[in-house]
Symmetry: C2
Subunit: 470 residues, 2 copies
C-alpha cells in the first residue's frame, strides 16, 4: 500500500483502509496504482494490491477502469476473478470481460455460482457462446441453468436459486438438524427452510432462529409458519421486489404453475432490484433509458436521440401555437419576452406533480381507491400555487412595464397553466397506468406538451383578446 | 365478503383473495365495504372484514382511507391495530392515528415493538407527548428508546434494534444452542449471531445456517466469519443502505465510538430505505420535496412553491435575455416562434444527462476515478445528438420557410445548446457533490437556467449577427 492516510474508521480491517474513502468507494489513487502496475506489465504488483479487496470492490475496480483497459486488468489478476466478483459486476462491464474469456473459463466460473448468478452471467451471451458454456458445465448445473433460461427475462424464474432446504412435514426439529449436519452437499446459503407435502408443495416456512430455539423432539410442523408468501415462477421481478418489501421477507419460496416448490429467492437479490427499479423511474421520466454509465456509447446515443426527436415534434407543435400569434408578436415584441415564463413555469409545476404520481404508482400507494382524492389534492395544490405565482408575476409585470392589462393577462395565463399542469400531471400517468403503459416512460412528453401549448395559447390568446398586440 | 371474484392466484390463502387485486393491492370494493361498515356504525362488520388482512395491508387500508375518516376507522378496529400495523404505516398516516390515541395506548403498542419500530413511532411526536409515552413504558424499554432518540435522525442509531444475540468467543456451537433454547426471553428476530470479546466488541459473525450445519463440539470461533461489516452508530442511513447492498448483508452489527456492540440492523429495515432513497432523487430533481402523497397539503404547497419561485427567478433571467433582442423580434416575429424549440430541446438533453449523473453519484458508480471519463462521454453524446437535431431542424426550417440563413442559425444554435446541456448536465451535479450539496436537490435549476439562457442567446444572437431581424 503506497498511501499513508489515517484510517477513518478504526473498526475496519486494516486492509480496507487505504483503498477505500470515507464513503466506502475505491480511492482514485488506489485505482491509479493498480492500473499503473498493469500498464507497466507488473501483474504481480497489481495482484498484490487487489488481493485484499472484497469481491464487490474488485467488481467496482473494473467499472472504474476505462473500457479499453479492462481486458488487460483481467489478464493481470485472473486468479482473483472468481464467481463472487462476477456476481457483483455491472452487466455491461461483465459482458466486456466475458468477451475476453474463453467459454471453458466462463463455465468454470458459472459452475461455482448459485443458479441465479450463473444465469445472470449466461443470459446476456450470444446463443453460440451460451451453448458452448452450457456444454462445458456438468449435467446437473446445465439442466438447472437451462431451465432458468426457459423463464422470461426479469421473472422470478430467472431470479431464483434452485439450491434450498426443503423437509417433509412429518419430520421433527431433530430430524432436520441431523439432515443438515450429515449432508455436506447442501447449500449453506439459506435463512429459512421450507416444509413441503408429499407432492413437494410448500406448506410452511420456518425461520432458522425458530429451529435453533426449539427442542429436538418437537415436530417441524409445530414450529413452522403456515401463512407464507409464495412467488409464482413467472412473476415479474418488480412485483417480487414489492412483495419482499411489503411483507419484510428475507427469503420466499418460488412455485411453478402446479404449486410445486421449484426455487427460492433471497432478499439480497431483491435489494438490487428495488434499487434499480426505483432509480429507473428517474431515468425513464427524463428519457435517459436505462441510464447505465457503462452502457456502450452508441446505445446511449440511440436511446436518447429517440426521446429527443419525439420531443422535437412536440416542441414544433408548441412553436406552431406561437406561430398563430406572429402578427401580435410583431406589433408587441414584449409578448415574446414574457411567454416562455408562462410555459416554463407550467412545465415545472407539471413535472413536480408527475414525479409524485409516478412514484406513488410505482410503490402501489396510488390505487383506484384514492385516485379521485389524489386528483382533488393536486388540483387544490395547483390552484394555490397558480394563484401565488400569478399574483407575483402580475405585480412584477405591472411594476416593471407599467401595463396593467399585460399584468392581468400574464397572471391569468399563469393560473390557467398551473391548473393544466396539475391536472395533466395526475391524469396522464394514471391513464397510462390503467392502459398498462409504464407511466414513467411516456408521461413527461404528454405533460410538457400540454403545458407548453397551453402556456403559449393562454398567454398569447388572452393578450390578443385584450387587444394587446393590435 | 361481499365480492364473488374468481381467485387470481390459487396459491394464495383463501382469505387474501377477494381483498387484493392481482398486483397485491387492496381492491377499491373492499376498501369501500370496510368504510361503509364504519360509516354505518357497524364496528363488528368492519372488524370481520379487516381481521384476515396482513398487518401491511391493514396499514395500507389506513393510507387508502381519506384523512378525515381515519380516526373513525381506528376506533372501529382498535383491537386489530397492533404494533406490526404501526410499524408498516406511512409516517404521516401514523401521526394522524397517534393524535387520535391516548399516550398510554401508544405506550402499550411501543412496548411490543423492536426498538427501531418503537423509535419510528415516538420520534415524530411532540416532546410533551413523547415524555408521557416514555413514562408509561417499563424502565428497560424506556432506556432503550431514550438512547436511540439520542442519536441523530436518519442515523444507524435510530435504525438499529437493541435485541440481538451475542455470544463469547470461547463458547462451542453446543453452548450456543443450549443458550438459545434455554433463554425464553431472547429475541426470535435474528438471522446471524455476533461473537464478542470480553469488552463486548464484535470479533465475528455467524450465519445461523452455519451453526445448524456444524457439530455441537466445534468452537463458535471456528465457524464464525472474522471479516465483517461493522456499522458505526452515527452512520447516515443512506450510507448504511449502500453497505447492505454492496456487501449483500442480511444483518450487520452496530458499534459505538469505542467499538462496542450496541445493536443490530436487519435488511428488512434497510430495504425500505433503499426504496425511499432511490425514489427521493426523482422527487428532488423535480422539486417535489419528499413527494409523500400522505403529506399534509399545506406542507406540500409550501415545498413546491419554494421551488417554483426559485424557478420563476431563473425564468425571468432567461426572459431578460430574450428582452435584449426585442427589436429583432419585432421586425422578424418568426424568431419568437422558433426560439422555444432551441431552449426546450436543450432543457430535455440537459435533463437526460442530469438524471444519469445524479443516479450514478447516488449509487457510488461515479467517483473521482471516472469523472473525466464521464465528462468526455457526455460531451461526445451531446455532440452526436446536437449534430443530428441540428441537421433535422435546419433542414425542416429551410424546407418550410425557404430561408437558408435562418436554417443555418437554428441548426448552429441547436448544436451549441446541446453541448451546453451535456456539459452542464455533468459538471453541475459533480461540482455540487464535491461541495457536499445534494446534487438531486439543486442541479436542475442550474442546468435548465443554462440551457434556457444559452438557447435564447445563441439563437437570437446568431440571428442578429446574420442580420436576420434587421
Amino acid at each position: 500500500m503506497s498511501e499513508t492516510e489515517l484510517p477513518l474508521q478504526d473498526d475496519d480491517t486494516e486492509a480496507d483502509v487505504a483503498q477505500l474513502d470515507e464513503d466506502d468507494r475505491l480511492k482514485p489513487e488506489f485505482v491509479r496504482a493498480v492500473l499503473d502496475a498493469v500498464y507497466a506489465g507488473d501483474a504481480e504488483g497489481a495482484r498484490a494490491l487487489v488481493e485484499p479487496l472484497h469481491p464487490a470492490d474488485i467488481a467496482d475496480l473494473f467499472e472504474l477502469t476505462p473500457h479499453e483497459d479492462r481486458a488487460d486488468l483481467a489478464k493481470a489478476i485472473t486468479d482473483l476473478l472468481d464467481a463472487d466478483v462476477f456476481a457483483e459486476m455491472n452487466d455491461y462491464v461483465r459482458e466486456d470481460l466475458i468477451d475476453a474469456l474463453e467459454p471453458h473459463e466462463i463455465a468454470d466460473i458459472a459452475a461455482e455460482l448459485d443458479t441465479d448468478d450463473a444465469v445472470a452471467i449466461i443470459e446476456d451471451m450470444d446463443v453460440e457462446d451460451q451453448r458452448e458454456v452450457l456444454r462445458a458445465l456438468d449435467p446437473d448445473d446445465r439442466a438447472a441453468i437451462e431451465e432458468a433460461l426457459s423463464y422470461p427475462e426479469e421473472s422470478a424464474g430467472r431470479l431464483m436459486q434452485r439450491e434450498l432446504i426443503a423437509v417433509p412435514e412429518h419430520w421433527s426439529v431433530g430430524d432436520t438438524l441431523d439432515y443438515l449436519r450429515l449432508h455436506e452437499e447442501l447449500t449453506t446459503d439459506f435463512w429459512e427452510i421450507y416444509v413441503v407435502d408429499p407432492g413437494h408443495k410448500p406448506v410452511g416456512t420456518c425461520k432458522l432462529s425458530w429451529i435453533l430455539r426449539t427442542p429436538r423432539n418437537i415436530a417441524i410442523s409445530d414450529v413452522m409458519q403456515r401463512e407464507q408468501t409464495l412467488i409464482p415462477v413467472d412473476m415479474d421481478q418488480e412485483e417480487v421486489a414489492l412483495r419482499f418489501q411489503k411483507y419484510a421477507l428475507i427469503s420466499a419460496a418460488v412455485v411453478d404453475l402446479s404449486g410445486r416448490l421449484v426455487g427460492m429467492i433471497t432478499v439480497d437479490d431483491v435489494v438490487h432490484i428495488i434499487q434499480q427499479e426505483a432509480g429507473e423511474d428517474i431515468l425513464r421520466l427524463s428519457g435517459a433509458g436505462e441510464g447505465d454509465i457503462n452502457e456502450p456509447i452508441l446505445l446511449t446515443v440511440r436511446t436518447r436521440i429517440t426521446w429527443l426527436v419525439v420531443n422535437l415534434g412536440t416542441a414544433i407543435l408548441a412553436a406552431s401555437v406561437v406561430g398563430l400569434f406572429q402578427g401580435e408578436i410583431g406589433r408587441f415584441a414584449l409578448l415574446a419576452v414574457l411567454m416562455p415564463i408562462v410555459s416554463g413555469m407550467g412545465g415545472n409545476a407539471g413535472t413536480q406533480t408527475l414525479a409524485v404520481v409516478v412514484r406513488a404508482l410505482a410503490t402501489n400507494q396510488l390505487t383506484e381507491s384514492n385516485t379521485i382524492r389524489m386528483i382533488v389534492r393536486e388540483f387544490r395544490i395547483a390552484a394555490a400555487n397558480g394563484a401565488m405565482l400569478g399574483v407575483l408575476i402580475g405585480c412584477g409585470t405591472w411594476l416593471i412595464f407599467g401595463n396593467p392589462a399585460l399584468a392581468l393577462v400574464i397572471a391569468l395565463a399563469m393560473i390557467i397553466n398551473n391548473l393544466v399542469a396539475g391536472l395533466a400531471g395526475v391524469l396522464v400517468p394514471v391513464t397510462l397506468d390503467r392502459l398498462d403503459v409504464d407511466p414513467a416512460v411516456s408521461s413527461a412528453v404528454f405533460v410538457t406538451t400540454m403545458t407548453d401549448v397551453m402556456g403559449f395559447f393562454s398567454f398569447l390568446g388572452l393578450a390578443t383578446l385584450w387587444g394587446l398586440g393590435s
